[in-house]
Each structure stands twice: as C-alpha cells, then as structure tokens.
Symmetry: C2
Subunit: 202 residues, 2 copies
C-alpha cells in the first residue's frame, strides 16, 4: 500500500473531494493543512504554484480533478466501461464549470461587473441544477450508470463550498440531487469523516 500525503489550505474547497475518496475507501493519508504564511513559503517550490498537491510514495502531483480520477481508479469507483467513464468525466467537468462560475462571481470586486455576473449566475445556476437533477433522475439515483462512482462523491464533497460561495443552497428543491448527497453522506466511512473532520464554513 503506498503512503499518501495531501497538502491544502485548512478549508474544504478543492481538497475535500480527495479527502472524501480516501475516507470512503478507508485508506490512511496525511492531511496537511497550511496556514497562509506556510503556503506562501511553500508556493515557489511547487510545480505550478497551486494546491492541492498529493504525494504518493513521495512523488508529487497537482490538479484536484486529475487526482480524484486516479484515486477512483485505485479504489474501484470508476464506471463499468469506457463510455461510462466518459460520462463521469463529462459530468465532473460540468460541475467544475458550475464551480468556476460560482467562485468567479463570488470573488468579483468591481461592483458593476459583479452585478452583471450575479445576473448571469442567477440564470445559469438554476439551469445547471435542473439538468444535473434530471440526469440523476434518469440514471437510477446516481449521475452515471445506476451505481455510486467518484463523480457522486466529488459533488457531495464540493457542496458546502459551492453553497457558501453561491450564498444559497443550490440543491434546494432538487430532490434527486438531495437524495444522492444524503446517500453519499450516510456511507459508513463518510459518516465518520463528517463527524471527525475539522469544522470550516467552506
């Protein structure tokens, strides 16, 4: 079994899907959480100035989605064939599009541009959420293939951060997505993680 070390900020953010995957599979990992000054010290030595970074037996890699896909393969959380893996990858990238839209809107400091972005997000978020909810509805309660795969876990793990940055519960009245998130949260090892993980807003 390789040794795993994950480095990120103290919050959930882009690292939480990785932490969920380790916990779901009951695999030990070192969960390094950097304060801002520690990150500024480390940053110049990183590959692309970005975290999360995962170390596998000392070998380092960045990019959270790529890391999740790799771990999903090791932990048996991929699709049943190439087409299902394509559907999983496409859904993860759609969720990433949604995440980028929500966080760039949240972070915008120019009041005029922020008003425009808020307006666009007010149309786009419900559109995305309706389509994602429908996708879960037609796939037997999961995003792809009628069984739990890593995209379900990624979505559930990102939800607190998405909601915090959007400023509202993005799955409110989305009954299929709500049930899916509940299903992930009640998996035995995830249940333990939700109780023991550090308290953060996002």
């Amino acid at each position: 079994m390789p040794t795993y070390k994950l480095t990120y900020f103290p919050n959930k953010g882009l690292a939480e899907p990785i932490r969920f995957l380790f916990n779901y599979a009951n695999i030990d990992f070192v969960d390094v959480r950097l304060k801002d000054d520690e990150w500024l010290q480390l940053k110049p030595s990183t590959l692309f100035g970005q975290i999360p970074i995962l170390e596998v037996d000392g070998k380092k890699i960045n990019q959270s989605t790529a890391i999740c896909r790799y771990l999903a393969k090791q932990f048996g959380l991929t699709g049943k064939n190439d087409w299902e893996n394509l559907e999983i990858d496409a859904t993860v990238d759609t969720i990433n599009d949604l995440r980028i839209m929500i966080s760039t809107t949240h972070r915008e400091t120019n009041p005029e541009v922020k008003a425009q972005k808020d307006k666009a997000a007010g149309i786009a978020i419900p559109f995305f959420m309706n389509r994602l909810d429908e996708q879960v509805s037609v796939n037997g309660g999961f995003f792809v293939g009628g069984k739990l795969t890593w995209v379900d876990i990624v979505f559930a793990a990102l939800l607190d951060t998405l909601n915090f940055r959007a400023g509202f519960d993005i799955i409110e009245k989305k009954e299929n997505l709500k049930k899916l998130v509940e299903f992930v949260f009640k998996q035995p090892n995830i249940k333990i993680w939700l109780l023991k993980r550090p308290r953060t807003d996002y």
Copy 2:
C-alpha cells in the same frame, strides 16, 4: 468501427483537439460546423447548452476534455500506466487553467477590470509557459513519459486559439514547446489535416 459526428462552431477553439485526434488516428468523422443562428436553434435541445458535442453511434456527449480522453483511449494515445495517465490529466487541466485565464482576460469588456486582468495575465502566462517548457525538457521532448500522448496533441491543436486570444505567440523562445508542436504538426496525418482544414484565425 463506430460512426462519429462532431458538432461545433466553424472555428478551431475547443473542437480542434478532437479534430486533431481523429485525424492523427486516421478515423473518419462528420465535422459539423454551425453558424450562429443554427447554434441558437440547436442550443435548447443540448444537454448543458454547450458545444462541442460528439455523437458516437448516435449517443451524444459534451465536454471537450472528457471527449479527448475517451478518444485517446480508443486510439492508443494514453500513458503507459495509471501514474502517467494522472500526469497527462494534470497537465491537460493546467493547460485548461491557462486557456480559461487567457480567454476571460480577452473577453473582459470593463476597461478597469480588463487592465487588472491584463496585468495578472502578464505575470501568469510567462510563469505557466516556463514551467510547461521545463516539463517537456525533462520528459524527453514530450509532456509525459518520453513519448507522444494525447496531451501533446491537445496543446498543439489549441495553440492557434491561445495565441489569438493572448494577442502574442505564447511559445516564443520556449524551445522545447516549439519543438514539440513542430513534432505534432509533422506527423503525416496531421500534416494533411493542416493543409485541408478550413482557414480560421482561432
């Protein structure tokens, strides 16, 4: 052999990496290029209001990077093992980060915000390009594993669009990246595609 149909705008953009992969592997595909009014008519019936869309024997899927990964698997352009595939995926997502930064800067209409974004991109683009050039240098002339994989083809195919939106040649003086792009461009089937593809600026 499945039948493939690709739908996008008339330009290169997000579809060109997919077109490069089909051409490299010498696989026939229908290359549908929509005018703006045709797209507006089609848009409501698409999954997430986005193109490119690929149809494989009539089954539709969106998200360009997911599509490239799937085709790379079919055409033998993946890494030699799971770790190499992780490195390929991480590099593709780094290139996507670069692409998103370049295009959001290019598209910004508010003059004040545009000035800020131009300034940030003026630091970030050279940083990214230096790191990517170094990565190719230490990996025997390719992004990953000392041999041609789909991330090399994706980067070469995106370059015209990246350069057009950045407003300058982003690989100028990046000798390793230049050699890699030349290597992709001189592959026999890519050479033919470069001669026969429709002329567009980006």
